[in-house]
Amino acid sequence: MTGQPKDITVTVTFATAPKPFREDFEPRTQLSVVLDAALKEFGITADGTTRYYLLHKDDEPALTVTLADLAGHAHAVHLRLRTETTQG
């Protein structure tokens, strides 16, 4: 008997956030969804002058990558939010 795949607990840390963003997502969730949720939690509105991206173990995965791809057999993923000013 096969059950539903367990949700993956995602933690996103951001240096200027008072606390990390933590939420459970379905494994098939793409990173773009996690990024949008984290930006909302941190009170950041993307305006096209700054690029916001996520690091996983020092690499920047594509936003189309799913949490299942990142997590492998793990049930938790830790991501770091970073910024790059693209237009001054």
């Binding site: 951001f14 240096a15 200027t16 956030a17 008072p18 950041i44 509105t45 993307a46 305006d47 002058t49 700054t50 020092d58 770091r80 970073r82 910024t83 790059e84 000013t85 693209t86 001054g88």
Partner: protein
């Protein structure tokens, strides 16, 4: 620098040191340095050789962004382009025109509000160091001259 700024900075330094240790970097604050002044040895991830030496000076922490220049040595001159990364917005050897620097915010009063406003929450020291590291990584450690 006021006492509260100094104490807050001291609380945030360990996280900065931990991050730098993961990138083969190092934080230096000598006894002769003024409060709030740090020298940060940094290099592009995966590269070895001569590190960049960022000179970061905080005045009111965490409420104001730091001055950021690049030096040829710890305690050394900041006017040599070869000491600076060849990264977007890093205008060697004058300033780093980015929202996370005192120089950038002074040049762009419009950054005081909106998406480029200085964020004083969390650990701004770590935020600046992580952001500079990202810029150096994207420049593949290239120097301005």
């Amino acid at each position: 620098m006021d006492l509260e700024s100094r104490l807050r900075l001291e609380r945030h330094v360990p996280e900065v040191e931990e991050f730098l240790a993961s990138t083969s970097g190092r934080l230096v604050h000598r006894p002769e340095d003024e409060d709030g002044a740090y020298w940060i040895m940094m290099q592009a991830r995966g590269q070895s050789g001569e590190p960049f030496i960022a000179r970061l000076v905080w005045t009111v922490y965490p409420l104001r962004p730091p001055s950021l220049l690049f030096a040829d040595s710890v305690g050394g001159a900041t006017n040599r382009p070869a000491s600076w990364p060849s990264a977007a917005g890093y205008r060697a050897p004058n300033d780093v025109c980015k929202p996370f620097t005192a120089e950038g915010q002074a040049l762009h009063p419009e950054w005081a509000t909106g998406p480029h406003a200085w964020r004083a929450s969390g650990n701004p020291f770590l935020y600046v160091v992580e952001t500079v590291q990202g810029d150096i990584d994207r420049a593949n450690g290239q120097r301005a001259a």
